[in-house]
Amino acid sequence: MTNSKFQPSSLSQWWKANRRSIILPLLGIGGFLLFWQLSASLGLTKLSGPLSLWTEERTRDLLLYPFFDRGGLDKGLFLHTMSSLSRVALGYSLAAIVGIGVGIAVGLSQNLNRAFDPLFQFLRMIAPLAWVPIALVLFQQNQPAAIFVIFITSIWPILINTAEGVRQIPQDYRNVALVLQMSQRRFFTKILIPSALPYIFTGLRISIGLAWLAIIAAEIVMPGTPGIGFFIWDANQNGYVSDIVLGVIWIGAIGLLLDRLMAWLQTRIAR
């Protein structure tokens, strides 16, 4: 809701209503950065402070020009991010398709659920990094292996939430379908999917974060392919601490953006 008349009085009212949710986060973040910078400047840690992003010329260039491409692996941060994101998109889409499909099957069938639930519960406990060697053995190449790691990491929340969503379809809705003698197909499209949609989206939102976590892990361990993970690995090899800090901040920002995007989708689609 926006005010059509943007008058000073309404501006001051808006400020009054929202100042707590603006000032307090600013104070918190500012305090944290100050502490970090002070501890770096006083030599308490070897980690460079936030100001080094600007003071280090190499890092400043990376910060200011994210789009350059000098060929090979020498690219701007944005381009690294894009190749990471494309891998995430692939692995995550696979995970979504398989996860929702299997989730519905498991949610509908008590027997399937009994058969596979222990396995799922077990597999979802395995950390992304632990999958890397298995993926490399399985696929022999970095690119498909990285996508597999994303897939296997992000599938579980989608699968488990979808199954739960299907199980949680209220008996009332099932009764409506029963009394109207709906066909399987109509039940699926008219009742099952709409009813389980909020659960599915909860799964998707949790998974997008996991997928992003997994790609960094995969790229750091599988160097030689462009990506934000490789960028950090490379900076580490060269001892560019401020570059690492920049890469980490970049990762956090992208992860946050992805999560917000899913949250927005969730409110739009699954009301």
Partner: protein, 663 residues
């Protein structure tokens, strides 16, 4: 008979998750005619929703069958549409889409335009055209339920099933929706089955009300026909003469179920102690002045004194509760009207004859006839005046209240009316009412008067609602009032307990009779556990009744020569009067019945052990005000002589062989 739905000997057993099973319903038989509206009512957990689900096909019976239009119901279908308690609307669809999903599914043969017409018609029918594009979350509960009803009706079901449809709504919305539903049902001649726990709703909407007993193993405890003509108006049905009797019938049923449940919840192991077979007794009583001996025995520890350590007084609201309590043996013994032992023994309560023993007459006298003030204001203060009044107003119904067909109030009132040439069935209508309701009915003018025990005559006078026109001393001075009654099989199983109980109550009766205790009795009975009313309304004064103009004085006799001993002659007189008014046929084997009803031996033993002089008892004749002799050697001859009587029959009442109650 064209029955649309036929539920035949249906049983439902649910397996429980922890092993074992729960028997929800047992042997349910129900025929539902086309166009009928049926309500299922009962306490929660009685299986009424289960029964509905089985008619809907959402659940299948473990045993028995449900037929819809001659076909076995095996699965749910749109021909038996359900309106669920929580509406079951799909929240991601609008009102219109919610109805459309049903119409599209069930009526694929219609064209799109035709379907559209059906949908819009039903949205308009429940008055929701303005909200057709809203989602269910934007609607109030009442509106949602209207959508659910529209969805159900749009697919033209043969049978409409409603599961507590208005349970979650506020009273105003509920009332409006009830009228709307009635109107729709009338217009479309719908057949409907509704589960409800609302007594008024059931009476308002139904043609028949099916009452279910408590689970496990619920059965149909009774079916009531609602004879209120349609179309009905919510505010007008309450004035129909049947309304309150139907309502109180259902409430009585539900209360009875609750009481049985409470009784079952407690342990009922027979506790033998002090050489008595059973010392834990449930004694039924009604809040009347005549319950004084029971109250005294409890308050003064007389039960305990005679070894009965755990006696519970169970207050019932009507004599019917006492009858039912003895029939299902939830009561050990009860205070009852003196006609009840012979009436139940002869099967007057409608079931198989249940032999009842009375070994003690607890009170005599204490009754009176009261007429409403509005009659007194027209000068109707005597029976002759009332007869003239009835002749002048013979087009209107005239109702007099009695408490029970087998009570002395009924028999004395009828005797007295008949002696004054008023036919107690044709000139007036005698209605059975709980004593506590009589005063209320006198106030609102639905009855002309009543014959009841104290304190209700005095209370009518003190509150200025009625004038006592005759006391029982003027009809039959010293008539038996209330007696102690037990089942015969109980008496045989616990003979020493029976004697101890009679001894305790005899001692209490003697205490009650003492004039100096009158104030104390009033105070005691005013307690909430007994009558729960002001002490000055409950009087045990000794003054003789002195006419209608002065203040009414009750005149109970609790103890004295010949007061407490059960008298065969009196019970025979009662039998003749019950037969005279065709409450029961006159038993050809009346000698056997009197022998089994009158526990004279128990009384004699108890009286002797209490040191009362039992021998001085002499058989007295029965002397009523009209001086007509009662020949106890020829009761049938007497019956043939009385001036007014119904077509009575004489029949053998076959009683089971006496045998003690087994656990």
């Amino acid at each position: 008979m064209t029955s649309l739905v036929s539920v035949q000997d249906v049983t439902k057993d649910f397996p429980l998750s922890g092993g074992g099973h729960y028997l929800a319903l047992r042997g349910i038989d129900l025929e539902i005619r086309k166009g009928e509206f049926i309500s299922l009512i009962g306490h929660s957990g009685c299986g009424k929703s289960t029964l509905l689900n089985m008619i809907a096909g959402l659940d299948l019976p473990t045993d028995g069958t449900v037929l819809l239009a001659g076909e076995t119901v095996r699965r749910p279908g749109p021909d038996k549409m359900v309106v669920f308690q929580n509406y079951s609307l799909l929240p991601w669809l609008t009102v219109r889409q919610n109805i459309a999903i049903a119409v599209d599914e069930v009526m694929p043969e219609l064209t799109t335009t035709e379907r559209h017409c059906v949908i819009e018609e039903h949205i308009a029918m429940v008055g929701l055209s303005h909200a057709a594009d809203k989602s269910p979350q934007q609607l109030s509960g009442g509106m949602r339920q209207r959508v659910a009803i529209a969805r159900a009706l749009a697919i033209r079901p043969k049978l409409l099933l409603l599961d507590e449809p208005f349970g979650a709504l506020d009273a105003l919305t509920r009332g409006n929706l009830q009228e709307k539903l009635m109107q729709i049902c009338n217009e479309h001649e719908l057949t409907a089955v509704m589960v409800t726990h609302d007594v008024d709703e059931a009476v308002l909407l139904s043609d028949r009300i099916v009452m279910l007993t408590n689970g496990p193993g619920s059965r149909i405890g009774g079916v009531l026909e609602v004879d209120i003509p349609r179309p009905r108006q919510r505010l007008q049905v309450v004035h129909h003469p049947s309304y309150y009797s139907l309502r109180s019938e259902i409430i009585y049923f539900l209360n009875r179920q609750k009481r049985v449940k409470q009784w079952q919840a407690k342990s009922h192991r027979v506790l033998p102690r002090h050489g008595l077979e059973k010392v834990n007794l449930d004694l039924g009583f009604l809040p009347l002045a005549a319950c004084a001996p029971l109250a005294v025995a409890e308050a003064r520890g007389l039960f305990r004194k005679h070894g009965l350590d755990e006696v519970q007084l169970v207050r019932e609201t009507s004599w019917r509760g006492v009858t039912d309590g003895l029939v299902d043996a939830t009561l050990d013994a009860a205070l009852m009207p003196s006609g009840m032992p012979t009436w139940m023994t002869a099967g007057g309560h409608g079931d198989a004859p249940l032999p009842i023993v009375t070994a003690l007459t607890l009170s005599r006298n204490g009754n009176g006839v009261t007429l409403a003030n509005r009659l007194a204001e027209q000068g109707v203060v005597s029976v002759e005046a009332y007869r003239d009044y009835l002749l002048q107003h013979n087009r209107e119904p005239h109702t007099l209240g009695i408490v029970h067909p087998a009570s002395m109030h009924n028999l004395l009132l009828r005797y007295w009316l008949a002696a004054h040439a008023i036919d107690p069935d044709r000139d007036v209508h005698l209605q059975t009412l709980p004593p506590a309701q009589m005063l209320a009915d006198l106030k609102d003018g639905s009855i002309d008067g009543y014959c009841v025990g104290e304190p209700w005559n005095r209370r009518a006078q003190v509150e200025g609602r009625g004038i006592p026109i005759v006391g029982d001393l003027e009809i039959w001075s010293g008539h038996p009032g209330k007696v102690l009654g037990v089942r015969e099989d109980w008496a045989l199983a616990y003979p020493n307990t029976h004697i101890a109980l009679v001894k305790a109550l005899l001692e209490a009766c003697a205490y009650c009779q003492e004039p100096s205790h009158a104030e104390e009795l009033s105070a005691l009975l005013s307690d909430r556990r007994y009558l729960g009313m002001r002490a000055d309304l409950i009087r045990f004064g000794e003054d003789a009744p002195s006419g209608r103009a002065e203040e009414w004085q009750p005149h109970h006799l609790f103890c004295g020569p010949g007061v407490n001993r059960p008298s065969r002659t009196e019970h025979l007189w009662i039998l003749t009067q019950l037969a005279r008014w065709a409450e029961i046929p006159f038993p050809r084997n009346y000698v056997e019945i009197l022998e089994r009803v009158c526990g004279v031996a128990v009384y004699s033993t108890a009286a002797r052990e209490q040191g009362l002089d039992d021998v001085s008892y002499q058989r007295q004749g029965i002397a009523l005000f009209d001086g007509r002799p009662f020949n106890s050697d020829d009761p049938i001859g007497y019956l043939n002589q009385v001036s007014l009587h119904r077509d009575f029959s004489v029949a053998e009442i076959s009683l089971s062989v006496p045998r003690p109650l087994s656990e």
